[in-house]
Symmetry: C2
């Protein structure tokens, strides 16, 4: 055998699978051989689900989240507080926050984070859409359609709208937060960010010193 | 959001991806969102490689290995010793043995291992094909086509044919080896198995006692 793989078809499949992040060529081979052992319909079901995701996926025109409809289930839910907009990097973050069951507002999905090294600039994200969304929400001329399910006045005072910047605490996250802050602060909306500190149940001994230091500076009144 | 996923399409893709062995739903979500970020052509290239593998793959009619042609590159190679047949569980084992560069014979791929718990019986494997192959090789009436690239007599004496049972050393491997041995021994071919013992560079201290015990019993003459 001159080549590493006994079959070109196998080689192509292994190459395709190992293009996934975190999947090496050994795992890719294992997965390809696994798929080969499955009934052909199962394999087609597998690839069809992926193709359909790529072909048919829509993004909510309000919050830019993945959605099967024009407007996602969160944005079209009248029980949620549409004055509270949580800005996150990705759909995964929305799912994480939803899983806490602690948040009743809506979201705005950036689709990434500003990263000069990764070649991601502000224009690659949905920051412009966020600004326009806030303008629609707080300024004259807001159309009925943006307000699905919202009770209250047609035009909100900017001071009643709060944008929560829920980005990661690293340099790129901080940079992105700062950039967005400068874009939306002129609109007069309230801007907040996530509380940072020791996690619940964290041991002081194993906390990193930056987190511990900030936890002391930003200490909170003890409420027993 | 009532459902865990913001989109049915995403949910279906995550479900499909997490059906792969060793891929949990969190990794599957990560992979699905990764694919969503790729250009659509890349995703189609990915799924097409997998579909083609499932649809167009062939198996070598001699050794039952994955092959792009009727007969695989190993079986059609006249420089290889066609009297030496190494029986392995899977294509992966062929690739592992080929990677050693130490083996010049041909293979027979079983396509699995006898496993009562896994519901795999002898008839699910290519044992019958192995027996027929040995019969063709050693008995009258062997056709020309089986002998591609073989020099030497048209019909081999059975004693010149050696079958190496290169299966894993666990109970299922041993069971399968024993089953195959009983099927092929009557043909008069030589049957061997892999040498077992300490690996090269292994430390005695960390060897399991079964391996160490067998290494002592099967000790070899020291050739400095």
């Amino acid at each position: 055998m001159n080549d590493k793989y006994p079959s070109r078809l196998l080689e192509n499949a292994v190459e395709a699978i190992s293009s996934l992040p975190g999947v090496g060529s050994r795992s890719a081979l294992r997965l390809a051989l696994h798929l080969l052992k499955q009934p052909r319909e199962n394999v087609h079901h597998f690839t069809e689900a992926i193709d359909r995701l790529a072909d048919e996926v829509k993004y909510c025109r309000e919050c830019m989240m993945l959605s099967d409809d024009e407007v996602c289930t969160i944005c079209s839910d009248s029980r949620r507080d549409h004055r509270l907009i949580c800005v996150v990097e990705s759909v995964r973050d929305v799912m994480s926050i939803e899983a806490t069951g602690q948040y009743g507002g809506v979201y705005h999905v950036l689709g990434g984070i500003i990263s000069p090294i990764g070649g991601v600039g502000p224009s690659d994200l949905t920051i412009r859409q966020l600004v326009e969304r806030l303008q629609r929400l707080t300024e004259e001329g807001a159309s009925e359609s943006v307000r699905h399910g919202m009770d209250g006045p047609r035009i909100l005072p900017a001071s009643e709208v709060e944008v929560i910047l829920a980005l990661s605490g690293d340099v790129e996250g901080e940079t992105t937060s700062f950039y967005i802050y400068r874009q939306i602060a002129p609109l007069g909306v309230k801007v907040s960010t996530l509380a940072r500190g020791l996690g619940f149940g964290d041991d002081l001994e194993y906390a990193d010193s930056l987190t511990l230091g900030r936890s002391i500076v930003n200490r909170q009144i003890f409420k027993p």
